[in-house]
Symmetry: C2
Subunit: 215 residues, 2 copies
């Protein structure tokens, strides 16, 4: 090969290399947003009434015959799906907890063997319909905030990376009647502070550190 | 210039072009995240007690001499700063509104000529300390949700692009005593649904469309 041909090949090779690099970079930039964009979803309530049995008993043999709509996607079914998506841990920090479907979702996760921690405010634990006793009896680790002021949070962290938070208390009225909101996000800048705050509140509610009434 | 030299120049030019393209692309990718990353901030309460006069009366001649800490950044001062950052509009959708500092912030924005809309739940409008009457008397457009169920939201949208939402009711107790959270975000996927929900609730609370008690 003559020198002229060698230089030609080198020149064309460099052009091809440059163009390939550009093409690869462009493809990488086009594909990245779709893969890396964190989950962000907003749910508004009241939720349309619908049957949730297909989510809470997905392996049941019978088909629910209640008069509610079936297999309809609602704000509440989305909320349940996000909770039931947990595969490892669920940290729950709720002011009041009396919604039986949400309780069933937590119990389902417990039966699957997930590590579940529930932190709640004292005044609501003994109210009619509270699910806190049900969770405790099932063996779920529950801690109670006995401070005189309200522990008014209503958030959950799924697998340490999916935050579910908003105005919605975990009651039937909040889901079926009130105007409420829930944000579901995997944005690390929003999730991280809630993970840290949960741990702080969990540690400060350790019954071994405090005199729990009656004492 | 001989053919050999021409080809050499072309070859080297192509290499330079390819490398420059790569370099520019790399620089673009390095700089983009810093510029395009949307605001995401989490505030936890109770907020440390501190004087807010420097935010609410920034042009006052006197220096506040109250016994509280001054010029300290707290969750509440961050919340006030986000509200006071409004330059065009403020849409406010709050279950209860009795916090006087938050009321002063809204009145400050009103005096600056911003377009403010306040939507609130009926039962709390007549409670002692409610700021709804104060805002109305100042000429701020207020609508009331008279539905029997609760309008339990507690969110604000600043300039149609910054969402402030969480568990925190706009009361003194929520700010100073309770364990609460506030998210501040400019993530479009989170802000957009709240902008739409506000407009929907605002339209449905138009007094011209409804029989407002007493009627």
């Amino acid at each position: 090969m003559s020198l002229l041909q060698t230089v030609k090949v080198l020149g064309l090779g460099a052009i091809a290399l440059g163009l390939s690099g550009e093409l690869l970079g462009w493809l990488q930039r086009r594909l990245r947003p779709a893969r890396a964009r964190p989950l962000n979803e907003v749910l508004f309530f009241p939720s349309e009434p619908a049957c949730m049995e297909h989510l809470l008993m997905p392996h049941a043999q019978y088909r629910c015959s209640c008069p509610l709509s079936h297999d309809v996607e609602t704000s509440f079914s989305r909320l349940l799906r996000h909770l039931l998506s947990a595969s490892n841990t669920l940290d729950l920090c709720v002011f009041s907890f009396s919604n039986m479907d949400l309780s069933r979702a937590v119990l389902t996760l417990h039966k699957r063997g997930l590590t579940i921690r529930v932190l709640t405010d004292q005044p609501f634990t003994k109210m009619t319909g509270s699910q806190i006793g049900v969770l405790r009896k099932a063996g779920i680790c529950v801690r109670v905030d006995y401070d005189a002021v309200h522990m008014h949070h209503k958030f959950a962290v799924v697998d340490g990376r999916r935050l579910i938070t908003g105005s919605l208390n975990w009651t039937l009225q909040a889901v079926q009647s009130n105007k409420e909101n829930i944000l579901v996000t995997e944005e690390p800048d929003l999730v991280r502070p809630f993970v840290q705050e949960f741990q702080k509140l969990w540690d400060s509610s350790d019954p071994a550190k405090h005199c729990v009434p009656p004492c």
